[in-house]
Symmetry: C2
Subunit: 371 residues, 2 copies
């Protein structure tokens, strides 16, 4: 078993292993991390159909009353309304603080499970078992959770650390290529902000990852987890260096809202990375050759049939104003200096960008036939 420790106030481990999901090892892990806790699996309806019953049956070996609570699997379901419904189901079953929430699914499931664990009875135990590539390398690590409002993504949330993140890469076999690309986009982000070498590795091995070569996948997932670990350890509450993980996300989140989630998160972030690299190039921070490398590599992760319209870009501009990094009513963007390094100005890891440069970047991603 691969173990990656995350050292924040409450140190915890990421455990990676093939076929750990229905193993005795899983039972040992959970019963040692959440002794005598009532277990509840919080999952989305997709994962529920595929695996949750089987996982629940397995977990009943350590908690005979283990139950499943599921909800819709779309971003539109990631709301305070869903949180209230889950909390009420928990109370209806007489659950209280002596609870361990097992977040089981993609990024939406781990976000909702995280928010429920952080707020139900002011906090209960949490174990995350991500089942998508996106959730494995990004959403389930670092303690961020959140729900959307009609003004934007993750505008309500907390920082809340799990007791463990348990990754079984064999479950990736049920994902289609689009869902895999959704995670690969975030892996390119890790590379773009932190490691030129890893960027090349991903670019060269893209086909193997999409073909589910488990060896290559494991290497890449570990690398992404390592990068994310280093960054969140430095800055648990996202007030400094952790900002760099938001590369591509100011534009990305706004595009998700503007396309009403027709774009998946990773795809929107892919567009966002290209747009924000375009801004960095316009500002003279990023070389044109690095910009092109990013464009070519990252565009491969975007769904081929999708067409970004002018109208979407117009709406996107409005949503930029509600980004969490906004300062004095002006949006801020993470700007690259080169592949593997973010431009830092007076210890600020994101910066304001003149209106016309934002416009040019958004025009670029709209007009160019990127994917």
């Amino acid at each position: 078993m691969q173990v990656i420790p995350i050292m924040t106030d409450d140190t915890y481990n990421i455990y990676l292993q093939r076929k750990v999901l229905f193993s005795d090892q899983l039972l040992t892990l959970i019963s040692s991390l959440a002794p005598n806790r009532n277990l509840i699996i919080v999952t989305d309806d997709n994962v529920n159909r595929l695996y949750a019953e089987k996982l629940c049956k397995h977990l009943k070996k350590i908690d005979k009353n283990c139950k499943i609570i599921s909800f819709g699997h779309g971003e539109a379901d990631k709301t305070l309304n869903t949180i209230e419904e889950i909390a009420e189901q928990l109370s209806a079953n007489n659950y209280s603080r002596d609870l361990c929430v097992v977040g089981f699914g993609g990024g939406i499931a781990t976000d909702i499970a995280g928010f429920i664990a952080a707020t139900f009875c002011r906090g209960v135990s949490l174990i995350q078992i991500p089942t998508t590539l996106l959730a494995m390398v990004d959403a389930s690590i670092g303690g961020k959770n959140g729900v959307n409002t009609r003004y934007g993504k993750n505008l309500i949330g907390t920082f809340y650390q799990p007791k463990a993140v348990i990754i079984d890469i064999t479950v990736l076999q049920t994902l289609d290529k689009r869902a895999l690309n959704n995670g690969i986009a975030e892996m390119f982000k890790h590379a773009a902000i932190f490691s030129d070498q890893y960027f090349d590795f991903l670019d060269e091995n893209l086909e193997r990852i999409l073909d589910l070569d488990l060896e290559v996948l494991m290497t890449a997932i570990i690398k992404s987890c390592e990068i994310k670990r280093m960054i969140v350890q430095e800055d648990k509450y996202d007030v400094g260096v952790r900002n760099i993980l938001n590369y591509g996300h100011t534009v990305g989140h706004a595009l998700e809202m503007a396309t009403e989630h027709e774009l998946m998160h990773g795809e929107a972030v892919a567009y966002g990375m290209i747009a924000e690299a375009h801004m960095a190039k316009s500002l003279g921070h990023l070389k044109a050759s690095d910009f092109m490398r990013i464009c070519v590599a990252v565009a491969k992760t975007i769904h081929k049939d999708f067409q970004l319209t002018k109208e979407m870009v117009t709406i996107c501009r409005q949503y930029l104003m509600n980004d969490k990094k906004t300062k004095n009513g002006r949006p801020r963007f993470v700007l690259l200096e080169r592949i593997g390094k973010v431009f830092v100005n007076r210890e600020e890891y994101c910066g304001e960008v003149p209106e016309e440069i934002i416009s040019a970047a958004l025009e670029y991603i709209q007009e160019e036939r990127l994917c």
Copy 2:
């Protein structure tokens, strides 16, 4: 100015002073604690009508864009729905992380302000300015916040520390006797769990407090803040000794729900303290004479016209099951050993109680003409 420091992970002060609310000192405090932050006053409609415009005008001297967001003042408004509405208003005004929420009002306002500050953009600055006796001595101190669900009080919430709690006791002059008694009940709780002497002080000075003798009030508020400070410093996350602050609250919260908030929080806790003292007496922990002292003193804080019905007590029993301290589906209660000391069993500060003893305690508060 009286200053009481609370030493948790993020140390902060309680500042107490007469007429601090519209003073230059308030401006100095806020601008030093939340430099360059956009200020937003989160308040209920009652306080809004009385003071909020004036406070907003005053705060505009340090943030010319200072705004007020208000909501209904009842427990029925303390919901995730209100939280969503406030978050959307904040986004509509392009507020983001660079925000300082000023919680202004009674316990409901400080609870909602606390939850908003803890979760909007995953956390912004918070300054609490309580305006009721209850909020001054209890709700605004210790970092707990929460909203209700239909299953119970404060079932969704977080621990989130403010930058400061600022108390101006002169605002208490607008409170009626029932609202004052609502706070006095929680002060009796502090005394009952921690200080026999303070219990006598409160009992002897009850009339003076109700007559708003500011000297006596200040002494009592400081004493209550000191007791709460000592307890929350020991146990920030309410996993041990902090439980004793829940004396009267297992029954109290259930009664609030069962009476649909016809009972104010302090009144419900007063009934709860009598019921839980009755349990402690039945279990042989508490002497009959101490039980009677509690009954006589605490009953004075309950509104005279209120009649607890059999039906309310029946409904109350159901709500007991959803209390946050419930373990394995069984409610737990803080039990006194004597006035000033809680019974502790194997480091547990609250314990299960046999069904028939719970029933006898609830019958007692229903049948006796306490107030």
